[in-house]
């Protein structure tokens, strides 16, 4: 298993940091000049310093504007533009994440402490179960770094995650037609959770996470469909039994616990053989690419599922 592959992205294709820093300065200056930015947003939004992570990807990044305006985050509404439009009132600070359950040392991590972790650049493919994909430069750290600190007990077999519930700040959690029951819950098997590809992300494109992308802290599991990568996490619980998960509860025939990206197992209502790259090709030349087993991470993660029937455990 290659732990490190040299970068193939031409450095000319990556927006230099000082350019987006200068853009930020401009936004900051505009805010100071009275254009106005929510105070909480200003406190959270910041450039982050990072170290290179162990995984590199030879694919063109999805434009930042696409990553931050084409989102599924039903807490802010079910349309793709809803999260970016409806998340202005959301306050990602102050924040803390409770890590509890079958652990020797349960702990509540404050955001300050989280942001002091060694932050890595992790550019991953992101494949949505709906049949579209992106390439996103995340910033984060391995989930195992947090798990190590709480000393999991031997009996802990799974990790359960929970998103915040704040109907007053998240319009999708209020109103007559609730698309899903809240809180949004997700889960991983312990070996999936401890896999070095699995990260808790706190930023993307060089900055802290925008609200619509799951501020201030979210999971990213690149070989699974996007809905497994739960956003705005407030609780992580180590448990013995396979935890319930929101989409499986909503429709178990269509969404399984594992939800590994798999072109050979169709969603009951659509094919998963190909995917549409968002932000490329435009209206008259949609870019469709073949979907890869485990979203292209098979050499890293296929061994986790050896002997398992992936058609039955979708």
């Amino acid at each position: 298993m290659p732990a490190y592959r040299p970068p193939h992205i031409a450095s000319s294709e990556i927006t230099p940091k000082d350019i987006y820093l200068s853009r930020r300065n401009f936004i900051g200056a505009a805010a100071a000049a009275g254009f106005g930015l929510a105070a909480s947003g200003e406190a959270w939004a910041a450039p982050l310093s990072t170290v290179p992570g162990p995984y590199k990807l030879n694919e063109k990044l999805t434009p930042k504007e696409a990553v931050t305006t084409y989102n599924n985050f039903y807490e802010f509404g079910v349309n793709k533009e809803d999260p970016s439009q409806n998340s202005g009132a959301f306050k990602p600070t102050p924040w803390s994440v409770k890590v509890e359950g079958m652990v020797g040392k349960p702990k509540e991590f404050g955001l300050d402490e989280i942001m002091k972790m060694k932050l890595e650049d992790r550019t991953y493919r992101m494949r949505c179960v709906e049949g579209w994909s992106m390439v996103i430069p995340w910033i984060g750290f391995p989930l195992s770094a947090i798990l190590d600190q709480v000393e999991p007990l031997g009996s802990a077999k799974y990790v359960a995650f929970e998103t915040v519930v704040r109907p007053e700040e998240m319009p999708g959690q209020g109103g007559l037609f609730q698309p899903l029951p809240w809180p949004y819950i997700e889960g991983l098997r312990m070996d999936e959770a401890r896999h070095p590809l699995t990260i808790l992300a706190v930023g993307l494109y060089g900055e802290t996470l925008p609200n619509q992308n799951g501020a201030p802290i979210r999971l990213v599991v690149p070989w699974k469909y996007g809905f497994k990568s739960i956003k705005s996490i407030v609780k992580i619980k180590l448990v013995e039994e396979q935890p319930q998960t929101t989409w499986k509860n909503s429709n178990a025939r269509e969404y399984g616990f594992y939800s590994n990206v798999n072109p050979a197992v169709d969603h009951p209502r659509w094919s998963q053989a190909t995917e549409q790259r968002i932000g490329e090709g435009g209206f008259f030349g949609t870019k469709r690419v073949d979907t890869l087993p485990f979203n292209g991470y098979a050499s890293e993660v296929a061994s986790l599922y050896s002997g398992m029937d992936l058609k039955a455990n979708y």
Partner: protein
């Protein structure tokens, strides 16, 4: 109920033909506007899907409008039957555009994928069946066919109820969760189709109420 129809001023007969042509023009405006938006980057980062979905939603709205003509006349005395053919044909055009965008821009003429979708995915099977059912209705939507087919025309055009139900099921199965948008469209179709089941007894009852009054006079 008669007061509602009285509140809407009747359009002078000489403008009827022009108003029908206006309806075609107005009816095609959403498609033209969304096409312009999609082509110029106004429909976000997945313009094909968004355009495709908007065309489908407008097709359902036009089917709803087509189905609403009869109850409007029965219950509120508003006679807009002259617009029904235009509404029905517009619905057909939108379904056709919806399918064309799926075929040309979404799956990019990958006929294997299209065939697979139609065969294997119930919501696409149903949607495609509804499109096929619309074709004979569109083809026979002219005065000549109406005259020529007589009672057969009326029976054939009852297919629109099946098409409407198919369209509603297609919509519900296509979304990840039924929110207020899909619910409103499907509920309207449900009410308008269900109305046909109670229409005959309801009209008999209305006529029965009117007749004794006439006798008393």
């Amino acid at each position: 109920m008669a007061s509602i129809s009285a509140a809407i001023p009747a359009l002078p007969r000489k403008y009827h033909a022009a108003s029908i042509w206006m309806l075609y023009v107005i009816g095609l405006c959403p498609a033209a506007w969304y096409f312009y938006q999609a082509a110029t980057g106004g429909l976000g980062f997945n313009p094909v899907k968004t355009f495709e979905h908007l065309l489908g939603i407008w097709a359902l709205r036009l089917i709803i409008a087509t189905l609403a003509i009869t109850p409007l006349r029965d219950l509120f005395g508003i006679n807009w039957v002259r617009y029904r053919r235009a509404l029905g044909l517009l619905a057909f055009y939108y379904v056709l555009m919806h399918f064309s965008v799926y075929l040309l821009l979404d799956l990019q003429l990958n006929f294997a994928a299209v065939g697979g979708d139609i065969a294997k995915r119930p919501y696409i099977t149903i949607g495609f069946a509804a499109l096929l059912c619309l074709i004979p209705l569109a083809v026979t939507s002219n005065n000549w066919s109406i005259r020529k087919m007589g009672q057969g025309w009326i029976r054939l055009h009852k297919l629109v109820y099946l098409i409407a139900i198919g369209g509603a099921i297609h919509y519900v199965l296509a979304v990840k969760s039924v929110t207020s948008g899909p619910f409103a469209h499907v509920a309207l179709i449900g009410i308008l189709v269900a109305y046909r089941l109670i229409r005959r007894p309801l009209m008999n009852w209305k006529r029965g109420r009117r007749q004794p009054a006439q006798v008393a006079r």
